[in-house]
């Protein structure tokens, strides 16, 4: 880490953050300039009820309780939305949700032997970092510069119980895997294709890929020939922007220097931008580009906007909470949802997004209490690649079948506290309101009240009818969507 400090000093990073401010209003103005005419078609802003559910799901993965919804609606403070964001950012649930997200990003496509990695240890360590407000560059450096040691005295002990070791272990400590995953996750660029041939779309050459891989290699790295993999040539380590390590540097020191080049070379605008784009995609539903497969820079939509946010993220010392505040207090985040089909409509509304598997499980457990088996099954059936854009994700018949019929779930619902609470309410209209507040975290509209009340009246058995109403809301698209 001393070395890191040294490299940091030699980098001309101008720490001018203290003199620069970039507020959510500035963000909205920058975007409005960029969108031009299209701004007039932007969706209206959301009401408090929609806001509190959206913000709570985004930051913590949990639904707000009916009590919280009511008190938030009643609150006269004009600053209450910003205050609520601040409040959520200090919860353990916030740290946990985002730790899960990044663990999933790192492990989703990993082919490492399950006995030699420990995703839970990584998740716990990340949760601790996010809770403390650790800067993103520090987290990245810890992950990339890790040098897990194998303990041969203990079976399958590869150092996986120490959280930060798990990025390297997920890549099976392979130089080529580390090179492509570092570029993908921390720079948002896909250079994987360059392993075998020059990338068809952008300027990553095979040679560059292998120079990066050489950085991660403990000894002399050899690049296989394209025509005959058995013929190899020695490649010297070089970072993507041409930085060369000192000759004779030890391999673990070399790892630290990669991390440093990645985070502190101000010319490496990809680093800050990749993080900004991922968080933006999660919050708004669309990215400025696909989060991990950027080809040429020309594929970035509204580049000035994302570049400005990224520059300011750097000035703010890569503070994750600053970025959440910036985006979530802006108008672009607080717009109503809309299904957008063309790129020209991007960011004029928020895209209705599928909730991640752990969030769906949270929502279900919110109704049934904790059922570990059910949580596991939901995680499996609702599994999704965290690096795919929302528009590329798909539901499945199995998801529908699970929510409709899964036995443990049906049993848990019929014995749930919610059901008992609803059955104790004598007024039908009030019953329906309680139902909607608990499951969809909003009040029912007059039509919904009427519809559900007449369902109750037309049913022979009231307790079955109450179960039906719960079942319908559990199975509606809104339940598993961020609106």
């Amino acid at each position: 880490m001393q070395l890191l400090g040294y490299i940091r000093q030699t980098m001309p990073t101008r720490r001018i953050g203290s003199r620069i401010s970039f507020s959510s209003d500035d963000l909205d103005k920058t975007l409005a300039l960029e969108l031009g005419e299209t701004t007039s078609q932007a969706a209206p802003l959301i009401d408090d009820e929609t806001f509190i559910r959206r913000a709570s799901l985004d930051l913590t993965g949990n639904l707000p309780t009916p009590e919280k919804i009511k008190s938030f609606l009643a609150d006269q403070n004009t600053n209450k939305r910003a205050d609520y964001i601040d409040e959520l950012l200090e919860t353990q649930a916030y740290a946990r949700k985002w730790a899960r997200y990044w663990t999933s990003v790192i492990f989703y496509e990993s082919e490492a032997n399950k006995r030699r990695v420990n995703p839970q240890a990584l998740e716990d360590w990340l949760a601790e970092q996010f809770h403390k407000g650790a800067p993103w560059d520090y987290i990245t450096v810890m992950l990339i510069s890790a040098t897990p040691e194998r303990n041969k005295k203990v079976k399958n002990d590869y150092g996986q119980d120490y959280g930060p070791n798990n990025f390297v272990l997920a890549c099976e400590n392979k130089s080529t895997e580390l090179a492509s995953e570092t570029a993908r996750i921390f720079m948002g660029i896909s250079i994987q294709c360059a392993e075998c041939h020059d990338h068809p779309f952008d300027n990553w050459k095979r040679e560059q890929f292998h120079e990066l891989a050489a950085f991660f290699h403990p000894y002399t790295y050899k690049m296989p020939s394209q025509d005959d993999p058995t013929v190899k040539t020695v490649v010297k380590p070089r970072f993507l922007l041409g930085e060369k390590p000192y000759e004779n540097m030890k391999s673990d020191a070399r790892r630290v220097s990669i991390a440093a080049y990645l985070a502190y070379n101000p010319k490496n605008y990809w680093f800050a931008r990749a993080y900004v784009n991922r968080i933006w995609s999660e919050l708004i539903g669309d990215g400025f580009y696909d989060v991990d497969s950027l080809g040429p820079d020309g594929d970035v939509v509204h580049k000035p906007v994302v570049n400005r946010i990224a520059a300011n993220f750097r000035f703010k010392d890569f503070d994750p909470k600053w970025l959440f505040r910036l985006i979530m207090n802006s108008k672009v985040y607080q717009r109503q949802m809309r299904t957008m089909d063309s790129p020209s409509e991007l960011f004029t509304a928020v895209r209705p997004s599928r909730l991640r598997p752990d969030v769906v499980a949270n929502s279900v457990n919110h109704l049934t209490g904790e059922h570990p088996n059910l949580r596991k099954e939901i995680a499996q059936v609702f599994d999704m690649n965290p690096s795919l854009p929302q528009s590329a994700l798909e539901g499945s018949i199995q998801q529908a079948l699970l929510l409709m019929n899964q036995q443990e779930l049906q049993q848990a619902l019929s014995q749930s506290e919610l059901k008992q609470k609803l059955q104790a309410i004598s007024s039908d209209a009030e019953l329906v309101q309680t139902l909607y507040l608990n499951i969809l975290a909003r009040h029912a509209t007059p039509e919904e009240v009427e519809r559900n009340v007449s369902y109750l009246k037309d049913s022979e058995k009231r307790d079955e009818a109450v179960e039906d109403l719960i079942w319908v809301l559990l199975n509606c698209t809104e339940f598993r969507t961020k609106r």
Binding site: P352, R354, E394, S396, A400, L401, N405, Y455, D468, L469
Partner: protein
């Protein structure tokens, strides 16, 4: 007249004029209308009916020299020996005695040549016919078959995969693979806990709830979900669910396929094809043999040898082989040169030449397509590109390989981009 529209679609695009549809048509009073002349018009289309494909996927990429193109006695040959087969002149690796006994039904392609040497990319190329280059996600071939030959109103999915596989890409959830991982059992959660009447009422209330949400801005998501719920509901009450189980299959038949995940998977595949499912994939894993390849072959081959040979025998006995394409392949081949990996050598990734098996659906069995040289490093006769393979698969299924598909942004792309049907494959 929603049904009539569907029916019309059936007759013109899919020729699935089943008894049920006919009754529906009669009930709607449209039988005896121009629809009947449609039937005569579509005689050629009608021939497609009952066509199906079973893909046995050997994930990890099996070695050509330990399967259908052994080179014993050469520097690259390793410990693999060759054996005679039912077809005079065709010799395969010694791990495959049962496949050898049904060789008369099989065409071996020894001159496949690919372009992608990484698992994910190779798997994509050999499942979609396209390389992973742009942002478009091309559909799994099974999704194309499901769309072209499947009944869109089918009460069970038109594409089933036993084991994980690729998605339907830009063709959407309508033709996505239905994935199961326990062959011989009903899929999870297909039994409703409510009575039929109660379920109907629930679904009616649900659809009102859904249309509100669609109007609030989530139209695309709701549309997808209602399709999925419709399919799920149909499936729950389908008499054809039985195809997922082994009711009525004798113990002998189950044993003949092999009492293991793969053998039972192939038996389910046959049952699904019989029930009218046009595409089934069955996955076998563990073929990425960088290490200890010869020992691993002894461990891996027997299940596939038994299951696949039994499948071909069984399909033939039931008169299904003429209309069912059976494919057995992996994502690429393995280096002819044996590597020097400790502790026990194996073979690495190799795309220059590899091999696969094709049978049924009009393919001429008992023949070998293409040749490789003695070292197994060069194709010396009739190289077959991935596009040629897909052209041939389309021909076997009666699907137009030149058809245009439309990507989400409306860009037209060809189902198969170039290539030609493999010479001599169909006799």
């Amino acid at each position: 007249m929603y049904n009539e529209a569907l029916l019309h679609l059936n007759l013109t695009r899919r020729s699935q004029f089943t008894r049920r549809n006919f009754l529906q048509a009669a009930a709607l009073g449209v039988a005896g209308s121009p629809l009947l002349s449609q039937i005569q018009l579509n005689a050629a289309e009608m021939k497609k009916q009952g066509r199906a494909c079973i893909l046995l996927w050997l994930a990890g990429a099996p070695s050509q020299m330990e399967t259908w193109d052994p080179k014993p006695g050469t520097p690259n040959g390793g410990e693999t020996k060759k054996i005679q087969t039912q077809t005079p002149g065709i010799e395969i690796a010694h791990y495959w005695p049962k496949i050898a006994s049904v060789m008369n039904d099989i065409a071996v392609v020894r001159s496949m040549t690919g372009k992608e040497a990484a698992h994910e990319r190779g798997t994509y190329h050999l499942h979609t016919g396209h390389r992973m280059l742009g942002i478009e996600k091309f559909p799994h071939f099974g999704s194309v078959v499901a769309r072209e030959l499947g009944d869109p109103n089918s009460d069970i999915p038109n594409f089933v995969s036993i084991g994980q596989t690729l998605s339907s890409g830009f063709l959407g959830v309508q033709v996505a693979p239905f994935i199961i991982d326990r062959p011989g059992q009903l899929p999870d959660n297909v039994t409703s806990t409510a009575s039929a009447t109660r379920q109907r009422r629930r679904l009616a209330l649900l659809s009102q709830q859904e249309s509100d949400f669609a109007q609030a801005g989530a139209a695309a998501l709701v549309k997808e979900q209602s399709k999925l719920y419709q399919k799920a509901s149909l499936m729950m009450t389908s008499p054809r669910l039985k195809a997922f189980e082994f009711d009525g299959e004798s113990e002998d038949v189950q044993t003949a396929y092999g009492k293991n995940q793969l053998g039972q998977g192939l038996l389910v595949a046959r049952r699904l094809v019989e029930a009218g499912v046009p595409f089934v994939e069955v996955r076998s894993t563990g073929w990425d043999m960088h290490n200890s390849i010869f020992r691993n072959m002894e461990r891996r081959a027997p299940d596939v040898d038994q299951g696949l040979s039994q499948l071909l025998t069984d399909l033939k006995q039931r008169g299904l082989l003429d209309k069912t394409l059976v494919l057995c392949m992996g994502e690429f081949g393995r280096t002819p040169k044996i590597n020097a990996r400790p502790p026990v050598p194996g073979r690495d990734h190799w795309v220059r030449n590899f091999n696969l098996l094709m049978a049924g659906a009009g393919i001429k069995g008992g023949q070998v397509i293409g040749k490789t040289d003695d070292n197994g490093q060069e194709i010396t006769d009739n190289p077959v590109q991935v596009e040629d393979l897909f052209q041939s698969m389309c021909k076997a299924m009666g699907i137009n390989a030149d058809m245009e598909l439309h990507t989400p942004i409306g860009r037209p792309v060809r189902l198969v981009d170039g290539g030609a049907v493999i010479k001599g494959l169909f006799g």
